[in-house]
């Protein structure tokens, strides 16, 4: 599975410009689904199976977009001013490298700072693409770039600039390959524009009209020095989301997921995230409402160019997903 992970994390695909990663995923899932289509916003939707009498129509969503930057101005000396796509943090920018969709690479520089204690704002930064003037610039207003950093395999731990949420797409791809004989009509959605406000999942969910929804995304951890106060750690299994800033997970879905993990003897953690949100939020609010939850993969340094996950957590996420979806589902009031 590591080669699949490397392939998806190294592909460019900032929000709104997901066509390359979509093609990579499309070829990875070729032959595994009954039907594959791309909707109006660019979500890649793969259906597997039809709804049996004891089955449900289920939407699974992992977003294939990543955070990035977009050029706003090329100045007279060829420096590219930019703004962000999604939750890029200023602190991670200076010295970072970015790659535009047209192949141009650049490094992020900063105006001279009189006070080096303050983090500069994006408006004080620029991308140096190595040209001398505006006329020579292969970049123009509106060109989009993603952060560039090679995939790092530390053995147990894996690091990449886009674990959020390519690791979720890898989990979905792997689950799609492994699932066989599910009673459910499963829609694997590789969604777009999550990082700018769960926009892709919003329209995909409307189109699919699911009876149950599950997002597969990363979540933060509390296991780094003086880190976030949060009881989720790397290596202790997939996290079952109870809440985040955008959603209260359906308690019936939470208990179904917990029971499934226990039954399959897969380690799991309970996640309460005080910031952020996932595609599950969009699914939950679709049409007349949908029971929704989220399977989270613990991840350190989210939205930095070096996001880290635990390989065992990834494998267990696939196992848990396959176990959950192979059986009929009974949601019980809690």
């Amino acid at each position: 599975m590591k080669s699949l992970i490397q392939k998806v994390v190294e592909t460019l695909g900032p929000s709104g410009y997901e066509s390359r990663i979509r093609e990579v995923i499309r070829s990875e899932i070729e032959g595994t689904a009954d039907e594959v289509h791309v909707d109006a916003l660019g979500n890649l939707i793969a259906r597997k199976g039809t709804r049996k009498a004891n089955g449900r129509r289920i939407m699974l969503a992992a977003h294939m977009d990543e955070i990035g930057v977009i050029a706003t101005h090329i100045d007279e000396n060829g420096f590219v001013r930019f703004t962000t796509i999604g939750g890029v943090r200023t602190i991670n920018c200076p010295g970072s490298r970015v790659r535009f969709l047209n192949g141009t690479a650049g490094v992020i520089g900063v105006e001279y700072l009189t006070n080096t204690y303050d983090t500069p704002g994006f408006e004080q930064m620029f991308i140096d693409i190595g040209v001398k003037n505006k006329e020579d610039s292969p970049v123009r207003i509106g060109d989009v770039a993603a952060f560039e950093r090679p995939f790092l395999d530390q053995g147990q731990r894996l690091v990449a600039k886009s674990m959020d949420d390519r690791i979720g797409t890898a989990v979905l791809i792997e689950a799609l390959r492994q699932l066989d004989g599910s009673p459910h009509e499963l829609y694997f959605v590789f969604s777009v524009q999550e990082e700018v406000g769960v926009r892709g999942a919003t329209t995909a969910a409307y189109g699919i009209d699911p009876e149950l929804g599950l997002a597969v995304d990363v979540t933060g951890t509390g296991d780094t020095p003086k880190g976030l106060k949060m009881q989720v750690s790397l290596g202790k299994g997939p996290a079952i989301k109870v809440r985040d800033a955008g959603m209260l997970a359906d308690p019936r879905v939470v208990s179904w997921m917990v029971a499934g993990a226990e039954k399959a003897k897969i380690p799991y953690q309970i996640e309460i995230l005080e910031r952020g949100g996932t595609d599950a939020r969009a699914i939950q609010l679709t049409r007349a409402g949908v029971p929704a939850g989220c399977l989270s993969i613990p991840c350190r340094y989210i939205h930095s160019p070096s996001e880290m996950v635990d390989y065992e957590d990834v494998l267990n996420s696939v196992r848990l997903l396959v176990a959950l979806l192979s059986e009929p589902i009974e949601l019980q009031a809690v």
């Binding site: 109006a40 703004t83 207003i141 926009r199 892709g200």
Partner: protein, 365 residues
């Protein structure tokens, strides 16, 4: 054939005396978000003779359908918002003196309020937003910006009975032409409304036009949400007005954050805070402009949002983009736009519609 001749051959609508007169009527009308009746009246009067069907929905949007004569027409939604920023009276502070507290409706630029005239209520009762005489202010006071809490709308002694708490107020600036420019309040988005009216009057045969004159854009794109759900288009274009911050910097260094520039043509959106434009539509607009020699500019990606922000998320997703006429000082009493930018916006939109085929949606985004 020259590019100009090519444009002429397509019979693109132009901005003439009648269109300017209409824009004048539209900008002088008062339609603060939630109270769009006055502009709605003008819109209905203008589009009813031309549309196949016109209706007003539950929020007050005007929805106008007009099909081109061609077969396999593409269902296109065009949206322009009728509402403008303004005020609502919240408290009558002095029964005899005509002095009212008020709150802003939409993103009013507060620094532009003191010393400006307003029109209150449906009867356009004149009033002013005064400011304490400079002679009576302390140096400390002058160091602080005036807040909306410290300002009042004054309709004058003896006029309290003509207005009431809950009435809306709009800026009182009257439309004027200034050299190559247009000067008025609410150019955001009466320019879009005027453009859309012209397009309804000139629908190309290959288009099944679903026009939405929306309400409550300035308070959260609320009208567009329900309009797009109802109209179910195959693609959508929001027609709006976007800031031109193309003034010099204080130290004469290069202004790298101008958003758009006056006189550089229609602004095509690639990304704002609410929408990542459909690249297929962006490409189509750019190619069209280049092909016909219509000047255009790419709006600097960044904040802000248009009706497209709601439209593209409706139902199973609607490929969307925005095109704006650039305007300086939007959300103030006096906005300024270039006539040539409006003309080029109208031309670009018309020609882009003429060249639009269902093929555009065949390729994946």
């Amino acid at each position: 054939m020259t590019q100009n001749a090519a444009l002429k051959a397509l019979k693109a609508p132009r901005v003439g005396a009648a269109q300017l007169k209409l824009l004048e009527r539209l900008t002088n009308a008062c339609s603060v978000s939630g109270d769009e009746g006055e502009v709605r009246g003008i819109v209905l009067e203008e589009v009813r003779p031309h549309a196949d069907e016109v209706r007003i929905d539950h929020l007050g949007n005007v929805l106008a359908m007009k099909s081109g004569s061609g077969k396999k027409a593409l269902r296109v939604m065009l949206a322009a918002h009728m509402d403008e920023i303004g005020f609502m009276l919240t408290h009558n502070e002095d029964q005899d003196d005509g002095i009212f507290r008020f709150e802003a409706v939409g993103g009013v630029h507060i620094a532009y309020l003191p010393g400006k005239p307003v029109l209150v209520g449906k009867e356009h009762v004149p009033g002013v937003i005064g400011a304490k005489a400079v002679h009576l202010t302390t140096p400390d006071e002058r160091r602080n910006a005036l807040t909306i809490d410290s300002l009042r709308i004054d309709v004058g002694p003896g006029n309290s009975g003509k207005v009431k708490v809950g009435d809306r107020a709009a800026f009182a600036t009257q439309f004027s032409r200034v050299g190559p420019s247009l000067r008025a309040k609410a150019l955001d988005d009466r320019l879009g409304v005027a453009t859309l009216i012209e397009l309804i009057k000139n629908v190309p045969p290959n288009i099944e036009l679903r026009a939405a004159f929306t309400v409550q854009e300035e308070v959260g794109l609320r009208g567009a949400k329900v309009a797009a759900y109802t109209l179910e288009p195959e693609l959508a274009i929001a027609l709006d007005s976007t800031p031109a911050n193309d003034m010099p910097a204080w130290d004469d260094t290069e202004n790298t954050r101008y958003n758009t520039r006056l006189g550089s043509g229609p602004a095509i959106y690639l990304a704002d805070a609410a929408t990542l434009s459909d690249p297929r539509l962006a490409r189509h607009l750019e190619e069209t402009a280049a092909h016909y020699g219509i000047p255009y500019q790419l709006r600097q990606p960044g904040g802000g949002g248009t009706d497209a922000g709601m439209i593209h998320k409706q139902r199973a997703g609607i490929p969307s983009i925005s095109v704006s006429v650039p305007g300086r000082y939007l959300h103030t009493p006096v906005s300024l736009a270039r006539l040539s930018d409006w003309e080029n916006t109208l031309a670009l939109l018309y020609v882009a519609l003429v060249r639009l085929t269902p093929d555009i949606l065949q390729a994946d985004r």
